[in-house]
């Protein structure tokens, strides 16, 4: 008891000032220290005799090594009649060789404390492997077997078809996935990028011959880039990579000229029915083309102002002011020859029409009015501050490095990232908005038609699609045409 009383007397003594008046420093946020310099390690690289580019970001303090093998062929290289072929081929590589089964590959990867995954974008196919730093040799050996000796066995092809079918079915339960896919299908309808946004049926008709042909054509060292980050240096990496990947034979690839992507300029509103969805999901966006490097930083800041955080314009308007939305954000997606800005909002179904109007109004406002200094500085502060956080995990660092090299972004998006953001001014933002945001964006609504019907009545022309991307019918002012 005695002990307790002393405790309270002491507590009162140290908390005394707080009971009457609080310390002055508590009343307002502290002034930040000067911005620390961002010094990133050098990206060292070399090219092997067979044309394979090897790049290393040495991080001696890390217990892991992250590896990304990027093949410069993605879904836009799948034949027009065989969308999904690039994704299927990439997945098949870890499904065994004549001597190593798929199960053995899994055991080897687990044995090096590894994590393996494949990602296929419109531009690239990527094999990513992260493993314990003492396992470099085994990791490269395993990767080389996957890449140089894939078996493409009929048994594994059948199994993978089933897996990918159900994976895609599962993804389609997410209205945001459905909305983004529909938006990009519309935007890239007559462009090879459009092949990337396929449905679950596409794998059915793929054959071993198709997979083999895609592999033979594009999986070549002179069409690839191997990036490694972690506890490794370039000399060691080159030695190990050379040992296992030097038999990989180069072959020149003839690239057909790719058509330019088209920027949408028409009023287009698309709808995908999603029965029992309690919210309406809006995905709105357009292609940014041409997209010179000089436009990157102004456009990144612009998209940040529009909807980069919960305190950007879209969120503050749609959620905080109008209470239409649960969330509203914007982002910039980068491709080899263009970019896409997308806005995603989850809104109350009855407010879908009004939300679309508000989003259009916010886009329009950016093309007419200069962004104020305070808002611009906040957007820049976010971009500068978030960059090192984004690349803090080793696998994210390595993915960024591999994209930087594959897209040929250069030093401006590495050590000079912050400097370039600082240079952006409101004139450049207005210029970027007038150049890239003036063309009318495509609007996609995903939701339950029975809940949304009333709020869609004002739309002049509504294109109604199924999940596969087929146009079912159009509606004019709520009446089926």
């Amino acid at each position: 008891m005695r002990k307790k009383r002393w405790l309270w007397i002491w507590a009162l003594l140290i908390a005394g000032p707080a009971l009457g008046q609080q310390d002055r420093f508590r009343k307002s946020p502290p002034v930040p220290d000067p911005l620390p310099a961002l010094v990133l390690p050098e990206i060292e690289r070399t090219e092997l005799i067979n044309g394979l580019t090897v790049a290393v970001v040495s991080r001696p303090g890390q217990p892991f090594i992250s590896l990304d093998l990027v093949i410069r062929a993605g879904e836009s290289q799948s034949p027009e009649t065989l969308p999904g072929l690039a994704s299927f081929t990439a997945e098949m590589l870890s499904r065994g060789t004549a001597l190593v089964s798929a199960a053995e590959f899994e055991e080897r990867i687990d044995g090096i404390g590894g994590e393996f995954r494949t990602t296929v974008t419109p531009d690239f196919s990527r094999l990513s492997l992260r493993f314990l730093d003492d396992s470099l040799d085994r990791a490269i050996e395993t990767l080389s077997q996957m890449v140089l000796q894939p078996d493409f066995s009929e048994r594994e092809i059948v199994a993978l078809k089933r897996t990918l079918f159900y994976d895609l079915k599962q993804k389609q339960k997410d209205p945001e996935f459905v909305g983004r896919r529909q938006l990009l299908r519309v935007l890239f309808k007559s462009h090879p990028y459009g092949r990337s946004f396929f449905n679950e049926e596409v794998f059915k008709n793929l054959t071993r011959k198709d997979v083999q042909a895609f592999y033979e054509l594009y999986y070549r060292p002179n069409n690839a880039l191997l990036a490694l980050s972690g506890n490794v240096d370039l000399a060691t990496a080159v030695r190990r990579v050379g040992r296992y990947l030097s038999p990989w034979a180069r072959k020149e690839i003839e690239w057909p000229s790719a058509p330019s992507p088209r920027v949408n300029s028409e009023d287009r509103v698309c709808f995908v029915n999603f029965p029992e969805a309690q919210e309406a999901t809006l995905v709105i966006g357009n292609v940014v083309f041409p997209f010179p490097e000089s436009d990157y930083f102004p456009l990144a800041a612009l998209i940040q102002v529009l909807g980069g955080t919960p305190f950007s314009r879209l969120f503050m308007n749609l959620r905080e002011a109008k209470e239409y939305a649960y969330s509203a954000f914007s982002k910039l997606e980068l491709f080899q020859n263009c970019a896409c800005y997308t806005i995603t909002a989850a809104v109350v179904p009855s407010a879908a029409g009004a939300s679309i109007r508000e989003i259009r109004r916010e886009i329009d406002r950016l093309t007419r009015e200069k962004v104020g200094n305070f808002e611009l500085e906040q957007a820049k502060s976010y971009l500068i501050g978030n960059f090192p956080i984004r690349i803090s995990p080793l696998d994210q660092l390595n993915r960024y490095v591999s994209e930087l090299l594959a897209f040929s972004w250069g030093e401006s998006r590495w050590n000079r990232f912050g400097d370039n953001v600082i240079l952006v001014d409101s004139e450049q933002l207005l210029g970027a908005a007038q150049k890239h945001l003036l063309p009318k964006p495509v609007v996609v609504i995903v939701g339950d038609m029975s809940l949304l019907f009333d709020s869609l009545q004002d739309i002049d022309r509504l294109e109604v699609y199924d999940l596969k991307g087929n146009l079912l019918y159009t509606m004019s002012k709520g009446v089926e045409e």
Binding site: R26, D33, G61, P63, G114, I389
Partner: protein
Amino acid sequence: MLLLFAGWGSAAFQEQPALPFSWQHFTLKNGLEVVLSDDRTLPLVSVVLAYQAGPLQEQPGKTGLALLLENMMFMGSLNVGPMQHISYISRIGGELNATTTEDIVYFFQTVPSNHLALVLWLESDRMKALEIDAAKVERAKQSQLDEIARRKATEPYLDSELAFDRVLYPDFAHGHGILGREEDVRRLDVEDVRSFYAAHYVPNNAALIIVGNIDVARTRELVEKYFETIAPGRKPPLFLPPRPLEKKEIIQSFADGRVPSPAFHLGFRIAPPFSRDHYALVILDYLLFKGKSARLSRKLVRKEGLALYLSGGVEKRKDVAVLKLFAMNNNETMVELCQKSIISEFNKLRAGDVSPGDLARAKSLFKRDFLNRLATPAERAMLLAEMTFSPVGLDGLASELYRHMRITPFEIRTVVERYLGPESSVILNVKRK
């Protein structure tokens, strides 16, 4: 500093290595535990403020309070308006979040390192003077009730899981969920929230961890400035030791009209965290459930096709641990066959069927996950917070990896024999109504 991890990734691990990074640990006069760790890799800093204020500290009839308070910590304090905490952090490019485990609530943020003082200002303000009023409590309750409804709608096995936990952890403190019971959450009032905050959100029940690009001396000054004048609270109440589970096989059924297919939960009460046997049980968990080559997943889902889905592993609730398994099956016959197949797998393990290759793989996966928790300032700060409150303390961290890596096939066999027998098992068969 860049060489800190050298040797930690290397294979042998025959001897216990020194920790690959250093820290400074001190306690403020008001009882706040503080850990500072310098890492100059990038110009950023991660701050974790952890309170021993999870559902284990809730009273019967007041479930859901810990999670409610986690959310209320973002609704404003004396000098920081509602949601302004998020705003301040987002605007400088920082990332933040909070999470509630059974015994600890963690608030964490990573920001450019020149904004460290801002985070300390924000955290100290809500530790010192959170503004709790009836309107905010009602908003937080509604949000939590919405979350309960959403989870129930999207997770058809949630009710069976909660029912299973009540059998596996027969005492109230360990046996109830984080979300809370709907009827309890509805009844919570402003006084409940204020008294939970006053009892648990006090410096002498918290740990502040700062990892990143910091000057340790200056950071210590900042910590003292913002936190030392916060009054300590009463000594947090001691935990009651959990009621031991009876040594007998428990088999129960749970009927639910919403489940898409029959399933079952299987669990064993095992040795408590940080005990000698626990380390072998964790490696056994990796052997059975983790990675693509995990024995049980491969056997039941892919080889024998007895389960549509399978998950499992060791679960810790402060001083109690269990090994849990959940399997979804096509029909009741498959449920039965699946359970038999699991028993046969355990029998094989009991007979010593663990090859050196299997064990090495399990250890590599454990090592990966352990080192992952040290790989970024944010992850490292979370682990240091967890260790601060653990019975072995921060000093125990150095030997954690080593203790797992030295597990032998004999020890695996021993723990299977000791803990995974039918007399220690709880089975809840989930049937469609």
